[in-house]
């Protein structure tokens, strides 16, 4: 860290500005030619990604023209469905990636440097994917752009979250460009700004749920804190997956520093699994002794309609199996790291889904003891909602594939 910062003096940085060295441009042109000369399998994947986006866009247009009420599974009682949970999944993972990248770039933990560029790039991509998904959930997204600026409500977490994520996207893009240009000082400044905005954004995202006191399951400081911890785990899993895939696509061998970076990240992930396990356990245990609203929601996960999501996906696939896999392998084999991370990501997707949906299944007027709200409400994602989420994955896949070629495996950290 110390060495790093000492080396980058302002003069150097400005020197860099003056001599935007030909190498950078040359590199870019080379990258583009590289993209054109990909393998057949690569193009197949890329085509698939673009196809997914196209199909999802068709579903999106259809949903817009037919009205969300008709084609989505959401209702008056459960207004937030899988689109929101997928948005949360994407942006929380993005925050995780931002945190991982900052460990190397900003906090100077050298071990994490090799994955930094890819993490920054993917963080931007994931926010964009998240925004694309939520675009089709918000009924008037274009009004949002206007009234977010001319009629802001500073007490609203949604306002802060939206605005901050906008800022995050801006800073992270800048950081990524500066990293490509080797303007490290600027990269650090924008990276730090991005990180601060990102942490603020994710805790506000958590607070959207945490500050809704109409829903007992969500209410409290738990979710904003949980989101940050859980973001780190998501970020670890995501960067391992994408780095592994990146090297497969480019058909390259990982060098020693990268392997050790991956191993460190996997260790961090394992640690976060333990942390998250405690979060989950205490959330369940405290919920069981609390008010009826939260108790019912917890019971819906423990022995109700969400039990499979909870035990199989959240606990087994999301935490226990990857943890055991990683420990058994002693974090050595990259393929084990990759598989464990993939399982974690699947589990995390369900964690987000359950967090959003289970928070709403207890009717707000349950304690009125009326027929209308005598039991749990139900929500089932519609085909439109599912396709739009898959479209979000398509965006991530496509952007990732293009990024691997254009930015040549994100190896500009080597200097």
């Amino acid at each position: 860290m110390a060495n790093e910062t000492k080396r980058i003096k302002p003069a150097d940085a400005f020197g860099a500005v003056r001599t935007i060295d030909r190498r950078t441009f040359g590199q870019l042109i080379e990258s583009i030619s590289d993209l054109i000369s990909g393998t057949r399998f690569y193009y197949l994947l890329l085509g698939l990604g673009i196809l997914l986006i196209y199909i999802a866009a068709m579903f999106g247009v259809s949903a817009m023209s037919r009205g969300y009420r008709e084609v989505y599974g959401i209702s008056r009682e459960i207004p937030w469905g899988i689109l929101i949970s997928t948005y949360v999944f994407f942006v929380v993972t993005s925050t995780g990636l931002c945190i991982i990248s900052s460990l190397g770039h900003i906090f100077g933990v050298k071990q994490f440097l090799p994955v930094g560029n890819r993490a920054v790039y993917l963080a931007v991509v994931l926010i964009f994917a998240g925004f694309s998904v939520i675009f089709f959930d918000i009924e008037n997204p274009f009004r949002m752009a206007i009234y977010n600026i001319i009629s802001p409500n500073f007490t609203s977490n949604i306002w802060w979250m939206g605005t901050l994520y906008g800022a995050v996207m801006f800073f992270m893009w800048l950081e990524f460009i500066f990293l490509l240009l080797h303007w490290h000082r600027f990269a650090i400044i924008t990276g730090l700004a991005g990180l601060i905005a990102d942490i603020a954004a994710i805790s506000n995202l958590g607070a959207i749920f945490g500050m809704l006191h109409s829903k007992e399951y969500w209410f409290g400081p738990y979710i904003p804190i949980y989101f940050i911890a859980s973001a780190i785990m998501s970020g670890c899993a995501a960067i391992i997956i994408f780095t592994f895939l990146g090297y497969k696509i480019n058909n390259e061998q990982m060098d020693r520093p990268l392997e050790s970076a991956m191993q460190s990240i996997a260790k961090l992930a394992a640690l976060m699994i333990v942390v998250l396990f405690f979060f989950t356990a205490w959330n369940v245990l405290t919920g069981l002794v609390g008010g009826e609203g939260k108790r019912m929601a917890i019971l819906a996960m423990l022995k109700g309609p969400y039990a499979i999501n909870f035990y199989v996906f959240e606990i087994l696939i999301g935490m226990v199996i990857p943890f055991v896999m990683l420990l058994k392998n002693r974090f050595k084999d990259m393929r084990v790291l990759f598989t464990a991370s993939l399982l974690m990501i699947v589990g995390i997707f369900f964690m987000r889904y359950d967090l959003v949906v289970v928070g709403q299944i207890v009717p707000v007027l349950y304690e009125l003891d009326v027929k209308e709200y005598s039991g749990l409400l139900s929500y089932r994602p519609s085909i439109h909602e599912i396709m739009l989420c898959i479209g979000g994955l398509g965006i991530v896949a496509t952007a990732f594939l293009i990024g691997e070629k254009v930015f040549k495996g994100h190896k500009s950290y080597v200097h």
Partner: protein, 209 residues
């Protein structure tokens, strides 16, 4: 593992399928009034079976023997009830709970009406309250038997109380009156139903001779 997963799925499906609560039982002869407000439930069951009230306590003095007929009366409203008419004849706090209390005991609302669905306005299963066995009028070999079950294709008000009251006074019905077209003779005239000259059809005691 697979089997476990399957059984878990089954359990989840089971849990999902358990929904809805037991609705109130629809008793025979329920009447659902939808005018002037939607909706009021009158339960024959509660009045006849639980409270053991005779038909002629209300019919026809307070209510016609035809379901919903009272809806056409302009004064069929809460004020009339408070004044002692209709339900208010008993529901005055004396014989039964006062009609200005326990509103939702009779008023079942739109939700209650929806529960009855298509059946609103159709009085069903009144035969539940009819004498199960053959009614025997008179004594000795001239006793005439009447079977409600044979006649239950008709509405109650076809016979009650324009032709028969709910109670029978011995000697009230005579063959002379029947042949004049009164009582049984209203229908048993050889046109609508077999003629009253077919003695043994009703007076089975005569056939023994």
């Amino acid at each position: 593992m697979k089997r476990e997963l399957l059984s878990m799925v089954m359990v989840a499906l089971l849990l999902l399928s358990v929904s809805g609560s037991a609705e109130e039982i629809k008793n025979p002869g329920d009447i659902v009034y939808t005018f002037p407000v939607k909706a009021v439930l009158f339960s024959h069951y509660s009045h006849v079976k639980k409270a053991s009230i005779q038909c002629d306590t209300c019919h026809p003095a307070i209510f016609k023997t035809k379901a919903l007929a009272v809806e056409s009366y302009p004064d069929f409203n809460m004020q009339a009830l408070y004044d002692g008419k209709y339900c208010g004849a008993c529901h005055n706090g004396g014989y039964a709970f006062s009609s200005d209390t326990q509103c939702a005991r009779c008023h079942i609302g739109v939700k209650g009406a929806n529960m009855y669905g298509e059946e609103i306005g159709k009085i069903k299963d009144m035969s539940y309250y009819m004498p199960k066995n053959t009614t025997v009028l008179g004594e000795g070999m001239y006793a005439a038997s009447f079977n409600h079950n044979v006649h239950n294709v008709f509405e109650c008000d076809t016979c009650h109380t324009s032709i028969f009251s709910f109670s029978y006074t011995p000697g009230e019905i005579t063959m002379a009156k029947i042949s004049e077209g009164k009582y049984c003779g209203e229908c048993h005239n050889g046109e609508m139903a077999f003629a009253s000259t077919n003695c043994v059809a009703c007076h089975s005691g005569l056939s023994e001779r």
